[in-house]
Subunit: 325 residues, 2 copies
């Protein structure tokens, strides 16, 4: 059954940094409601879902000047969304095509972009040739339309799409499906541009993106991009390595001095690695996730004395954690 | 008269970096609707409002390793909001109290925090003594309640509060007042936590904040903070210098190694400077602002072929520009 919950805003993506109020975390024992982290930590193992190694893309950037290693882990989008592009990403990764390219564009409160800047015909650069098998899916693949008569013909009425439904200015409602933030109307459903979501850059025409340029959201959710671009994943670890890069001030907010681009050392699927990291997320269809969201909406504590009363979908974090080997 | 518009999501704060689609800005002449920047640029001078020098706080951070200067300009909150705290900020600035302190806390997709980390009693550090005249306003000042019988007794019905009203999950509606994003219900109105908004850090009790610790929002709007903390301003230039700082991994996401804090060289009001910068913003009560928002909601172009249909208040940018001397 679908619950229509009032959900409170939370503020970070990963469970390792769930919402903490500015300058106060004392006296947890006096809090009348458990924190999201406490709820996630107490969730039974059966409510956690491991992400398949073939769905984990590990991006290694060159170290910082002070020698800090920078690894970013992206979960690749689940079916039925973004079909074609996700296959491209696995092909490009398998061909080591991204290795030696760069993070080359940053727009504050909008996107970080990486891959081959020469994919943009206006760049004046020569693109790196794509390996065989890369497709250019049509823009109709930006959304999913369940077939007529199918159980999900009305996504809003279907358990399969979301346990919770959140008021949304951009759709009939929004919620989560298998860990993905989604929005829907009576005829279609689509993943949405929350913080950390990864999409396919393209040229002006909607059917020009392959995966040779990728972007991630580094600011307030730019929902205007929904259904206009292909979302192919979400950063589940290391987002700060993208978000803390210097912003660009050249054409289209690329770096004017190309020597300041951040090199991509390697991109690998976890399934290709000899010692791959493993991750699991708190099922967005679980009771604990619904409880967590509800506490955020209605819970008070010594710090938050006024409840938010509700949330927006992009303010609800997905608890993600590493699985110890 | 209040208009209830459908507004489209835009993605950046300052007009110098208004929304540009990933990897495409060609063929502007073919666009059926003007861009937000075009609308703002075409707005008559009478629709631009200069910000008073006493409302501009200029924060200078130590240069980057590569010698880049970092200046951040904050517009201080207008009456009737945040009374008491804004006076504190002017007092602290006048006493040069912030000079030599640090940016010391960063939580990805949440906040950057600066000032005196010893204000937190859990820090174990000794606070810098406050100058005379600093007050600790009560939490009732987080919101504004127009007096009974006053023209603004019903903010939702008053022209004074917002030209546009946007659906909002956290209030009766949201919009803008004199350039500030606000939300309201029948009895009160309050500024809200959009990207770049600046607030007063405090300890656990709501009436413990003075301005000795300040934070700015660097991610998706954490609306749960609304009415729980005092908003005292918004960054109008240089936000990237905050947002691109390394995230903290110590207690409460402060820096474990305090030597990696970013020093604050100086904080000055423009009214104290011999060669102050001047800024103006596009009046949020102007026709051009309403037009800009409407185009974002309903406009299409060669890149955005699907309209958002609406927006959320924090996705609407405030056009701000420097005034040439």
């Amino acid at each position: 059954m679908k619950h229509s919950l009032s959900l409170a805003a939370v503020v970070t993506l990963a469970i390792t940094s769930l919402a903490v109020p500015p300058a106060a975390d004392a006296q947890q024992s006096e809090r009348p409601a458990p924190t999201p982290r406490e709820i996630a930590d107490a969730a039974p193992a059966s409510e956690w879902t491991e992400i398949a190694p073939d769905d984990l893309m590990v991006v290694t950037l060159a170290p910082t000047r002070s020698g800090e290693e920078r690894q970013i882990v992206i979960r690749l989008m689940s079916e039925p969304f973004a079909q074609g592009w996700v296959d491209n990403l696995r092909t490009l990764t398998g061909a080591r095509w991204y290795d030696g390219l760069w993070v080359y564009r940053l727009v504050d409160n909008f996107v970080v972009q990486w891959g081959d800047p020469a994919s943009d015909p206006e760049s004046g650069e020569t693109p790196r040739p794509l390996p065989p098998g890369i497709v250019t899916p049509p823009e109709s693949n930006y959304i999913h339309r369940p077939g007529p008569g199918a159980p999900q013909a009305d996504p809003c009425a279907s358990d399969a799409f979301s346990v919770i439904a959140i008021c949304d200015n951009f759709a009939a409602a929004a919620g989560f499906r298998e860990g993905w933030p989604v929005a829907w109307n009576a005829h279609s459903i689509w993943p949405i541009h929350c913080y950390g979501m990864v999409g396919v850059g393209r040229n002006e025409a909607p059917d020009t993106g392959t995966g040779s340029e990728l972007y991630a959201i580094i600011g307030h959710a730019p929902r205007r991009l929904d259904r206009n671009l292909a979302l192919v994943g979400r950063v589940i670890e290391g987002m700060e390595h993208f978000a803390s890069l210097p912003r660009g001030h050249g054409r289209m907010n690329t770096y004017e001095d190309t020597s300041t681009r951040t090199p991509i050392v390697s991109v690998r699927l976890a399934s290709e690695m000899t010692d791959p990291p493993r991750f699991e997320y708190l099922s967005t269809e679980s009771d604990s996730f619904a409880h967590m969201a509800d506490v955020f909406a209605t819970g008070k504590n010594a710090f938050y004395t006024v409840t938010a009363g509700d949330t927006d979908v992009c303010a609800v974090p997905l608890p993600v954690r590493r699985i110890d080997k």
